[in-house]
Symmetry: C2
Subunit: 406 residues, 2 copies
Amino acid sequence: MKAALITIGNELLSGFTVNTNAAWIGQEMGNIGIELRVQHTIGDDKEHIITALEDVSKDMSVVVVTGGLGPTHDDVTPSAFYSYFEDKPVFDEQYWKELTERFSRINYSIPDLNRNQAMKPEKGEVIQNMLGSARGLQFKKGSCHYFALPGVPKEMKAMMMSTVLPFLKSLEEKPISVRTIRTTGIPESALAEKINKKIISHNFPCSVAFLPKLTGVDIRLFGQDAQNIRDMEEILTPVIEKYVYGYDDVSLEEVVGNRLRELGLTLATAESCTGGLLGHRITSVSGSSDYYLGGVVSYNNEAKMELLGVKKQTLEKFGAVSEETVREMAQGVRSLFKSDLGISISGIAGPTGGTPEKPVGLIYIGLSSGKEVAVKKFNFFRDRDSNKRISSQVALNMIRLALKNE
Amino acid sequence: MKAALITIGNELLSGFTVNTNAAWIGQEMGNIGIELRVQHTIGDDKEHIITALEDVSKDMSVVVVTGGLGPTHDDVTPSAFYSYFEDKPVFDEQYWKELTERFSRINYSIPDLNRNQAMKPEKGEVIQNMLGSARGLQFKKGSCHYFALPGVPKEMKAMMMSTVLPFLKSLEEKPISVRTIRTTGIPESALAEKINKKIISHNFPCSVAFLPKLTGVDIRLFGQDAQNIRDMEEILTPVIEKYVYGYDDVSLEEVVGNRLRELGLTLATAESCTGGLLGHRITSVSGSSDYYLGGVVSYNNEAKMELLGVKKQTLEKFGAVSEETVREMAQGVRSLFKSDLGISISGIAGPTGGTPEKPVGLIYIGLSSGKEVAVKKFNFFRDRDSNKRISSQVALNMIRLALKNE
């Protein structure tokens, strides 16, 4: 099935809000085998919405519209839908009563402005919204299904999950199966080289797409036969096993966290150039206090010496960005927190601070596990943000690999 | 002037890449008074590109296309442009020589695949790309100017800045002036209440837009007379002075960093629920080592006691999330790093860990400046990521306010 998406909002065009809804919807549709073919962003204008509906509908089975369902005068999507589908809305007494009660429970008397959210279509359906007052709309014209959803990401996502996606899935006679293999630590071209022969030689009716990002490459397998996808996964995984950290939506910080919990191990972090990003990522997982004890951001040399016990001579002889320093940082943070593992990062994030011997992008990462300290050296990028992001990813991956065969 | 944007790429439709280019372009155009009216995302398909060019061109003065300029077979934008503008590309010997030399400098022999990047139009112009091999294209049809730029954000941005935006600015007889007042610590409605009367009573030919985000509200002033904008800024700022942290593109972490440097003060951080995010934001500013000494992520109680010197009785009597604990954390991290200021955060980020007395979203932030420790209590949101983000913002803002009148 082919789909089109119309996202409505002046704040999207002015660039004030990044359109993350579009990416999320594209991904979720892809996961059930619906191909998003085109996406339009337009302003809060009824005529523009009607024109966009006309423009995108050709050859589509699904059209999703987000935004423009609120109570203010900007919110013109319902009005555009009623025109486009030649429907007349009626006032929904029961929903109005429900809304009034909801508002009174939080000690508000409902503004009259909200009355337009209690309208419902005659020809179409409403889509319930458990998180807000704006209900969605569903219509059918020809063989195409149309949905209007709020632009607030949480509400839109909940309504897609509870209503729209299950409905669309039920339309597919043979829904498409999708499996994403998530890898890190290997560039796209090298990954392709490793598995392309396998893909070609097996010649399954299963498509393979490489999705490269700064922090890793995802391999998306999709096709109509779930068994083929499983077979392909089984054939590909052994060849690239070292690089595969998980499947589908899992993040590397979750994988590492789960493994630490499984093994009953604890972790502490010593960060220099990443400034706390590694700790931030680890603690973005709910329940991370089970295994993460904490860390030190040792941004200056005194902190490296006094908190982490890095020797003065080490800093003088080799510098703060060196194999020797990260080795002592990893050991130091491990003793400081009495954790099973200590991970350390020191490098030159840029854009300033580089020298011919130690250029911007030079990063050392150390992992102390008691038995030994493993240190790796990297030459990453020229910009600060990318260096911080890739360093935190590589550090997490070093922990993952160290715990793989524990 | 009205503009349209076409972003090309299957990875945008599949949701693998979030379309940050669209937001950036919308913002930059807005800054020189060009209104982005519509944005289409389509796949890597020549016919779709031609159709999109036809669809969006009506009434537009500017059409920007990004993506599809690389050397691989997916990159079909030049071919679509040559068709649409009925032009015939010619091989640019000089550029090919230049490209060959660039590749040889990094010890690569140039692949034949790159030859198509050395084509140039007869009717149109090329746009130089200092960061990559794909040059841009510029055409004019009727009164509309068309630009094709790479999809790689860094290359696209550099080319917009050096070539496209200056060209567009030169077209405007009277370009629009824009000034953004950045505020934090006050909701949109309260901000509007404070300044709406001023806006109405002065009745300048200057538009005012409120742009609310999780971490603050931007006020955008724009109009054709730069003097009006300056006058409006002067009238509004005193009424909301406390909440204004900067203007235009500046971030709160930059403002705080600059002020610390100006005063010759140093800072250390003690983070619990934010897990390192505050340190990460502070160190996202190049040169932050001038004033940021480092921090402790005291995720467990032992770290709070042993590293930061929080008393056992304090934790037992009041708990880790309490006014008393963040007070001792702020003082503790200040002594540990011998910094002028110590800032601490402890709270319940959620989604689990809340109780009736201490619900998810309860966050304490402390600021120790030697003279005293200021502690503030907040009740934020129900989701982990928002709680972490808003906590780091409020902590930075507490530092800003404390240093305002130093």
